[in-house]
């Protein structure tokens, strides 16, 4: 995460209610937020519209604009945004679980299983990996993804989830063990992990 005086200046402009501040914030941070959401959510199903992520992007910025006054250190705005992303995604996934219980896709349409065949193997494996992560509870998944995929430090992960570092570490270790066990049941995931390991 990079931060500089420009980040802080935009936060201060937002707090002052300057006319162009929201647009400036969008231009400066939207690419980062978009990337974070992609990593937290994983690749969507082939028949899943991009508008899902766009909706979350909007939600992140709406929350950001409302809560920017609570940010204590303006230069830390990027971490603040990541925290919002984590909470927004957590809420989205909880909603998806509820919809899945009703056997509907996120859009409310019936699932299109045939579309999967059109996607490439590696992408399908990553999609399955995100599926495995669903086995974790809402906050455990968030902690796990923030640390392993988003690459945040353990201190940041703990702070963003409102837990102590030792708690975050304990829950991360537990999640890692569980996810690894589930991954080993899927040859496609094991193969992908081995292939990626070779390029680590």
């Amino acid at each position: 995460m990079e931060a500089d005086g420009g980040d802080a200046a935009i936060v201060l402009a937002l707090r002052r209610g300057e006319a162009r501040a929201e647009l400036d914030a969008w231009n400066r941070f939207s690419a980062q937020v978009d990337g974070t959401l992609r990593r937290l959510l994983g690749p969507g199903q082939p028949n899943q519209p991009n508008s899902d992520r766009d909706d979350l992007l909007q939600e992140v910025f709406i929350r950001f604009f409302r809560r920017v006054g609570t940010l204590r250190e303006p230069a830390a705005v990027r971490g603040f945004l990541t925290g919002i992303c984590l909470r927004v995604v957590q809420g989205e996934l909880a909603g998806r679980r509820r919809r899945r219980w009703l056997r509907l896709t996120p859009t409310g349409d019936a699932p299109d299983v045939g579309a999967r065949a059109r996607d490439d193997e590696s992408r399908e494996a990553v999609r399955r990996y995100y599926g495995v992560l669903e086995a974790l509870g809402g906050q455990d998944r968030s902690i796990f993804v923030a640390r392993t995929i988003e690459g945040l430090t353990l201190e940041d992960v703990a702070a963003l989830h409102g837990v102590s570092v030792s708690t975050a570490q304990r829950r991360l270790a537990r999640a890692t063990k569980r996810v690894a066990a589930l991954v080993r049941r899927d040859p496609l995931l094991v193969a992908l992990a081995s292939a990626e390991k070779g390029t680590l």
């Binding site: 690419a31 766009d54 992007l57 990553v126 690894a180």
Partner: protein
Amino acid sequence: MTARDDEALIAGLSKAARRVAAQDAEGSGAPGPAPEAWHRLQKVQKAHDRRPRSSRAALRWALPTVAVAACALAAGGWLARRRHPLTFVVSGGVVEANGYVVRAGLEPTELRFSDGTRVSLARGARMSVGAPGPRGARLRVEDGQAHFEVTHRPGADWSVEAGPYRVQVTGTVFDVRWSGADESAAVGLRQGSVRVTGPNLAAPVVLIAGQRLVARLSTGQVRLESGGLEADGATDESARVPRETTPAMPIAPAPAPTPAIVLPAPAHAPGPGRAAVTKPRAPAVGPSTWAARVASGESAAVLAEARAAVFDDVIGSVDAQALGALADAARYSGARDLSTRALVELRRRFPETGGARAAAFQLGRMADDGGDARAALDWYRRYQSEAPRGPYAAEAVGREMIAVERLSGRAAAAPIARAYLERFPDGTYLLQARAILGMP
């Protein structure tokens, strides 16, 4: 299996997840979300602002207020579109510090606006985006060619400037080219209609699909050709106005399926009946033929003729018209030093003529193009003092402002920017003036 094995397994999969996310982001064409997302955010934000804070209260009043909410949402969206200027992203090009977008290499360069409008730059092209508003923007082709696909929306307000020519657009597909070197503009229309205004056009010219307007400022020739536009052949998909070899802009283009329509030309240019398409080549040589021959695209031949003799003797003996034509011929041929010498001689020998005054501006522009901002500034100021209401007055002030900013900084350029906005509120340097003054 140890914890280390688990971590290694997870690390590999996490890496793959990051890679796929990055590929998806790259595959979307430009970094970050699509620019349209900004407008959607504004719309959603308005709706959120109107949402009652208590969900119970919301439920209680939901049905009676649903129609009102729908209207508010629609009005909110309309207001959002109305209030917020369009945004745009640039892919594949270079955005210079002064705001110009340049296509530097082979990679396609595209500007994508939040209303769906797209602009592609041809190789070497340079353009600026001025005063983006909620319904459009003022675009300026500084040099080279660009292809425009303007999204048709009610009340769309787009314009494209090419030198002193202005193309008013409501939603269409077209190409624009401007060459500062030979002061020529071309507008080729593929779909829809546009309105072109500018020098040597007695009234706005409305182009329809398949037409092309070609204008050469120095000679006053303006031609409207019918017939379909040909895609530029070889390598550049964004260069869709047919490109000639030398000079860059067509004086006598390839035969069109139907005869060219020649628009009225000003008094100093060849008469309509003798204009470019049907005009036979002037058989004679000598300074008296130079103006007509330069107008016919024989710049290289005219320059060669002058250089065949002693150039200084030539510029010391020919009349003002021939001297001006020779300066143009040299400039169009890329011989800046010879053009400068001819213009300086024009000013020395015929100081009270309009040509001499215009030469001051031309000298400034050539100095500018050559990177000598200080000399350019000198010439622009001289032109303004000699011809405060001359045809290049607005451009001279705008260029003076830019040169002062470059040499002495924004604070020094601010008074000129203020004066520019006051004198030319609709001028082509509007964006730069507002930027200098820190205006949104």
